[in-house]
Structure formats: structure tokens, C-alpha cells
Symmetry: C2
Subunit: 143 residues, 2 copies
DNA sequence: CATGACGCTTACGTAAACGTCAACTCAAAA
DNA sequence: TTTTGAGTTGACGTTTACGTAAGCGTCATG
């Protein structure tokens, strides 16, 4: 029947807390993956007894994890990136050192963006070529 | 920067050839990796007896392979991309079908570029925050 | 009360992308 | 001619990022 009642506790507690399933559904990942990220110290949800409780902050971290993966970063590298974002939370240790790391990562990211731009350009050229071939042969059936 | 197609076509009529070591040194990969890519049909150098001989076209393909990897594409996906570039070489089969695939990949690439731009923006914000914290605390001791 | 549905941990399995090592070929150098 | 150096083919090992199955606890509903 009303499976939503299962969310009753979360509803009472707060609007900003999520079960493992909530996050899985929201980001299309498996519980196994989330537990694995936790074992790798990428997310650290608090516990209600055994059960994991995720906050909005955990959500944001997960978002970054999945983004990082799409760019070919390893989970270890992603953990580094995540640590950079933690600075806003009040941690002050070795701030300037971390700043260096951040600037490095920033350069890396910008270089990657240039690369992807180059690939996009090449691919657009190729597509132009193919379109010409189709036109010349009068076989153009695609927009 | 010249695009990959230009590189590949320059190979036409040219007699520039490379050993496996040449390519390894040029792109900082191991022979094992190149042989593996070959087993996955990403590069197909011709043989002089047993030995592999790579052309400029193979070089261009390798460049694309390594780029693709940096963006988290699997070798299987990269093979698809490479096949798109092969069209310039005279293959005409199922042109319009391939065009569809190419357009799809193009969208995917553009979306990734937007994502990476977002990440860059976030990181720049974080860096700004850290710089402020350093300034306010007057603890900026490391360059 | 029992039966799922969901979650937990522990542990082994797996696919991708190579690394590593052994054993061989083959041509050039010593 | 022996050695050396570069290249080759298996075959097995390794790391990453999970999948999968076993076995258990916990509720909420039939």
C-alpha cells in the first residue's frame, strides 16, 4: 500500500536527509556503489543504528563523484577534489598547501576542456565531410 | 593546432613510418599497451615480417585513443569514434547511419564540455574562498 | 506470526586495461 | 660466431570499480 510511510521518519526528521535508496534512485547508482564509495572514504553518511543517512552535502559530493568519473578521474583523484571542497566547512589545516593543489587541478581541468574542444572541432569537420559526400551522391536522407 | 584528419591525410603519399618504440616514446605508452590496442582493433599497423610498422595515420589514431581515455571513454567507445574518422578514407557504407552516430557523439561531447566548465567554475569559487580565508587570517606564509 | 521488502556486513567473483615474465626470432654489432 | 638488442607471442598477475551471493537483523503488512 502506502510505501511512502517508510519515509515517515525522514519526513519527521528533516527534508534534507535521504536513505540509500533515495540517492540510488536520484542518481541511478546501485547501493553497492554507494557503499563502495564510503569504503573509499568519498562519502561518510552518519548512521541511524546500522542504516546510512545521507545529507544534502552527501548528495552534492555524490554528484561530484559521478561527474569526476565521467572525465576519467579515478576514485582516488576524486577524493582529492572532494577534499578541496571541504575547506568551506571550516577546516583550516594546511590551507595554502591545499590551494596549490587546487590551482594544479584547475589547470588540469582547463587543459582537458581545451582538448575536448579540439575533439569537438575535428568531429564537426568529419560530419561536414560526410554531409558533403551524401549531398554529392544525392543520397541525403538525414537532416 | 591542426586537426587529426589533416594528420591522417598527410600520411597519404608520405613514407613516414614508425617502430613500436617510436610511438611509445612519443606518447609515453608501453609496447604492451599498443599491442593491446591492436588486439582490440583500435590500431592496425601493417607488418614487416613480425614487426609492426606504424604510419602517420596510426599516430593520429593513437592520439585520439589517449585523448578519449582521458575523458573516461572505454576502448570500445573509442573504437566507435575512430570508425567515424575512417570515413575520410573512402569508406562509404551506411554513411547516413554513421552520421547519426556522429551527431550523437557530438552532443555527448558538448555536454561533457559544459559539465567540465561547471566544475571549473565551482573550483574557482572554492579557490576564491580559500584565498579570502588566508587573507583574513594573515596566515599566508607559503607562496 | 510469517512473509516480504529493505538494509547491513563479509567475502568471493568479474570485466577492463594493462603489467610482468618467460621463451622465441632475427638482424646487427663485437 | 657469439652476443646483444629490439621486437614478438602467449600466459598469468594486478588494479580499479564495482557485481553477486550468503547470511543476518528489522519492520510493516497480510
Amino acid at each position: 500500500m502506502m510505501n511512502q510511510l517508510a519515509d515517515a521518519q525522514a519526513a519527521f526528521g528533516s527534508d534534507e536527509e535521504f536513505s540509500i535508496r533515495d540517492l540510488c534512485d536520484a542518481f541511478d547508482v546501485t547501493p553497492r556503489a554507494l557503499r563502495f564509495y564510503e569504503s573509499q572514504e568519498l562519502i561518510m553518511p552518519r548512521r541511524d543504528g546500522q542504516r546510512r543517512i545521507y545529507t544534502l552535502r552527501d548528495r552534492a559530493r555524490l554528484k561530484l563523484i559521478l561527474r569526476g568519473k565521467r572525465f576519467g578521474f579515478s576514485l582516488a583523484e576524486i577524493r582529492e577534489l572532494l577534499n578541496l571542497y571541504d575547506l568551506g566547512d571550516g577546516q583550516v589545516t594546511q590551507l595554502s598547501l591545499t590551494l596549490e593543489t587546487a590551482l594544479g587541478k584547475l589547470d588540469e581541468l582547463k587543459e582537458r576542456r581545451e582538448e575536448i574542444t579540439a575533439v569537438i572541432g575535428d568531429l564537426e569537420n568529419q560530419i561536414g565531410l560526410v554531409r558533403n559526400m551524401l549531398r554529392e551522391r544525392g543520397e541525403s536522407q538525414v537532416s
